[in-house]
């Protein structure tokens, strides 16, 4: 691995300062924990003339309740989210997914904001944010706007973030206290690897029947995606083996898996089927 090439380093003290810095270079990039930007620069995939650090911006490191939601500052690390009592009690599926990101050291460095802005499909938190209907808050030179997680992931390593904009926080709706949920990571090569299939499932059950279902998967398509057809197959039904089978079929036929050095499209589709079936079967047992 080669070393970094020269760049200007700016330590911003506020979001405004960071916005100014971004605007004053030709190709400045933000750096949070550095777990993505640094290796990407070493690989010469990007060659920014400046790195603008957000580490000194205090308002980006809060985790706090915001009505029925939890608001998470962009600079909060995966490790903090995995351990936070607030996150574990109100959005436990996010805590679980953050606790499965890479390895313990990387979790202590990498931030949720960085993870999200990387726009990677094979991200552990991404399908959870989609399934729970999270909302990103973004600030740019002309002001603030919000983008739903669904609209945020627009393509292969591509997000709705415009050049010169900064993600400041992610707001995640609280899960219902009796929700049945699972984040399941299938990474066949190694424990600390990225998910080949990262499946987030959250079901609200009422007397054995599924009232609402939210399913999303990362690592399969070019962006993390909601499995809406599978959710429709479950809603209003008892989770019998037949209903689970219908949801599995719906998930497998609705997705358009990518093909790369890790796995073929057919294998990814098959694994989505396997893990949707196993996770739903497990949750049905829990709910019974």
């Amino acid at each position: 691995m080669s070393h970094l090439r020269q760049f200007e380093y700016v330590e911003a003290r506020s979001v405004d300062e960071a916005l100014c810095a971004l605007a004053s270079f030709e190709d400045a990039r933000l750096v949070g924990g550095g777990t993505v930007v640094v290796p990407t620069m070493k690989l010469r995939l990007i060659q920014p003339d400046a790195l603008v650090s957000l580490r000194g911006v205090e308002d980006l490191s809060a985790v706090e309740p915001d009505g029925e939601r939890i608001r998470i500052g962009a600079m909060v690390t995966h490790h903090r989210l995995a351990r936070s009592d607030l996150v574990r009690s109100r959005v436990p599926m996010l805590a679980a997914a953050c606790g499965r990101v890479a390895s313990p050291t990387i979790r202590r460095m990498g931030t949720l904001g960085g993870n999200v802005c990387y726009g990677e499909s094979a991200s552990d938190p991404a399908p959870v944010l989609l399934a729970l209907g999270a909302e990103m808050t973004v600030r740019g030179p002309t002001g603030e706007r919000t983008i739903s997680a669904h609209d945020f992931y627009v393509g292969y390593y591509e997000t709705a973030l415009e050049r010169g904009e900064i993600l400041t926080s992610v707001a995640v709706p609280s899960m219902s206290a009796n929700a049945k949920w699972r984040y399941w990571k299938w990474s066949p090569r190694a424990h600390e690897d990225k998910p080949l299939v990262g499946l987030a499932v959250c079901l609200e059950m009422q007397e054995g029947s599924c009232r609402t279902a939210r399913l999303a998967v990362g690592g399969v398509e070019q962006t993390p995606v909601l499995l809406e057809a599978a959710a429709s197959a479950l809603e209003g039904k008892d989770l019998t083996p037949e209903v689970v089978r219908e949801a599995v079929d719906a998930a497998m036929s609705a997705i358009d898996p990518m093909e790369d050095f890790q796995a073929s499209a057919a294998y990814r589709r098959e694994m989505v089927g396997v893990w949707v079936r196993r996770v739903l079967t497990g949750l049905a047992w829990e709910a019974a």
Binding site: M1, H3, Q6, V38, L51, P104
Partner: protein, 159 residues
């Protein structure tokens, strides 16, 4: 582009001028000639460059050196006191948990952080905690044994 930084490394104040594009592993190895911290993959996967920054586990190959300005860094060289190896280091030696030795500094620093958080980790917790530290010799069983011995010694329950 250079910048002067001052930081505490293994309890000693260091002031030096470094290129802004250096990573912390370059600062340690090239700037301070502390060669215990190894650079393996250079992209944060292998764990051999693991150090503590303000007590927190950090991959020195991903950490920009300028960010260490005003902070406290502990490397494998800072674990022994007055020539006496730390319990983790001693356990690695006694258990023979070292083969080629390249991953050892990162392992020892990571285990030190683990035992600081959990004084009696289960095998599962140890494996999970070391999941980002690769031993290409495949010496994991002895490393696991060393961690358990170090934990016992630290708890004061070793014979």
């Amino acid at each position: 582009m250079n910048r002067s930084v001052s930081l505490i490394v293994n309890g000693r104040l260091e002031e030096l001028e470094i290129p802004t594009h250096w990573t912390l592993v370059q600062l340690l190895r090239e700037g301070l000639h502390l060669r215990g911290t190894e650079e393996g993959c250079g992209e944060g996967s292998c764990g051999s460059c693991t150090v503590l920054v303000d007590g927190e586990l950090t991959r020195a190959c991903l950490f920009l050196a300028v960010r260490a300005d005003g902070h406290e860094v502990t490397t494998v060289e800072g674990l022994a006191h007055d020539g006496e190896l730390s319990p983790v280091q001693r356990a690695f030696v006694e258990r023979g948990a070292v083969q080629c030795g390249f991953c050892t500094p990162g392992m020892v620093v990571t285990v030190t952080a683990l035992l600081h958080e959990t004084d009696d980790p289960t095998d599962e917790e140890i494996r999970e905690f070391l999941s980002g530290n690769f031993c290409r010799c495949g010496g994991y069983p002895l490393i696991l044994a060393a961690v358990k011995q170090a934990a016992r010694v630290r708890r004061g329950t070793a014979r």
